[in-house]
Symmetry: C2
Subunit: 224 residues, 2 copies
Amino acid sequence: MDEAPGRTRTERLAAEIAEAIVTGTLAPGHRLDEQALADQYGVSRTPVREALRQLGTSGLVEVRPRRGAVVAQVTPEQLAELFVAMGEVEATCARLAAQSMSPLERRRLDALHEAMGELARAGDPAAYAEANTAFHGAIYAGAHNAVLSDFALSLRRRLQPYREAQFRQAGRLARSHAEHATVVAAILGGQAAQAHAAMLRHVTLVESAVEGLLGRERGTGRRG
Amino acid sequence: MDEAPGRTRTERLAAEIAEAIVTGTLAPGHRLDEQALADQYGVSRTPVREALRQLGTSGLVEVRPRRGAVVAQVTPEQLAELFVAMGEVEATCARLAAQSMSPLERRRLDALHEAMGELARAGDPAAYAEANTAFHGAIYAGAHNAVLSDFALSLRRRLQPYREAQFRQAGRLARSHAEHATVVAAILGGQAAQAHAAMLRHVTLVESAVEGLLGRERGTGRRG
DNA sequence: GATGATTTGTACGTATGTATA
DNA sequence: ATATACATACGTACAAATCAT
C-alpha cells in the first residue's frame, strides 16, 4: 500500500491536497468538503480536518469557522503582494548567498546554470521549469538561513499555480536564462548589492510575464 | 462563561497557548500534553490537538508525530537565523515604507517616535516595549504588503521571549530611541536605501543586546 | 529484551451554527 | 421570516505506538 512519505495520515493528506492545489487539480475557490475528501482518500474526517487546518495556516486554503474550507482564492491585489514579497525575499537570499556561499555551492550553482542553458536552447519548458525550481532552491540554500529559505519556498509554492505556464511564452526560456546569468555572475563574484538587484529584477520580470498570461487566459468564468 | 474573542474553541486555545508561550508562562522545551491542556481549559482533546497543529505550523511549538508536542526549543543557531531573518525582513519593510508610506502614515510614525522619546527619558521599560511593538508594526503596515508584514509579525512573536528583558539593560532605551531616529529620518525623507541600512543595523544591535543578556543569564550557551 | 502504562492517532456520534427553501 | 437540511465543531471511544519498568 501507500505508506511511503509522511508517517501520519494527516501529514500524507496535507501533502497530497497541497500537491493537488499546486498542480491545479484543485482550482482556487474550490470547496473542500471534509466528508468528500475523507471518502476520496479512504480515511475519516479527523485527519482531513487537521490537514486542512495545517494548509490554512500556510495560506494554501482558507478556512472559515463553521463555513468550511476552500482553496485559497487569491485576488489580483494579493497576487501582486505575493510577487513583491517573493521578489524581496529572493533578492535577500541572493544577497546573502553572494556573501556566504561556499566554493562548492558556487560551483554547483554555476553548473546548474550552465545545464539550464542547454535546456533553454533545446526549448524544453517542462525540464526547464523543474531545473528552475532547483536553481532558486540552490540560492535559498546558499543564504544559509533556514527561516528565510522556508519562507521563500512557501511563497514559491503558493505562486506556482500562477507561474506554471509562463515558460511556454515565446522566448521566455532564453530571457529567463539571460536574467539568471546576471544573478549567477553577481553571486559568484561575491557582489552582494548586484545580486540583490539582479534577482529583484528577474522576479519582477517573471511577474510581468505571468500578468500577461493571466490577462490573456482569464476571461473564462470565475464566479461573479 | 468566556466566549470573548476567537469564535471557536480551537482559535481561543491557539491564542491562549501562544500568549502563554510568548509571555514565558510556558517555557521553551515544556511538554504540551494534550489531555492535560484539555483538562486545564475545560475542553476535549480535539480542539487542543488542532490548536497545537496550528501553532506548530507557525513555529511556536514543535509537533513530533506520535511523540507529542513541546514548546519550540530554539537552539542558539536557530536564534541567530531568526534574528538575521527578522533583520532582513524588517529592513525590507523599512525600505518599502520609505517608498510608499502615505503622508498621514509618515506623520503618525513621527508622532509615535516622538512619544517614545518621552518614555525613554522617563525610563519606563514596560511602556517603551509596548510602544516599540507599535512602532515596528507601523513600519510593517507602511510597507503596504500583508504577506511581508504578517511574516515580520510572526518572526517578532517568535523572538519575543528572547527579547523581553533587553530594555532593562542600562542605557538601552536611549540607544534604541537614537537608532529609531535614523530609521525614521530615512523613511520620512523617502530615502529607501538608508532606511534599509538603518533598520538592519538597529535589529543587529538588538540581537547583540539580547545575546549579551542570554550569555549572562544562561551561563553556558552552546550545546555539545 | 519483553511487558505494561501512557499518550497519541484515528474513527465515529452528536449538537450547534450556517445556508437554503 | 420560519423552518428544514446540512456541514462543521466538538466530544468520546478505540487502536496503535512510544515510553517506562
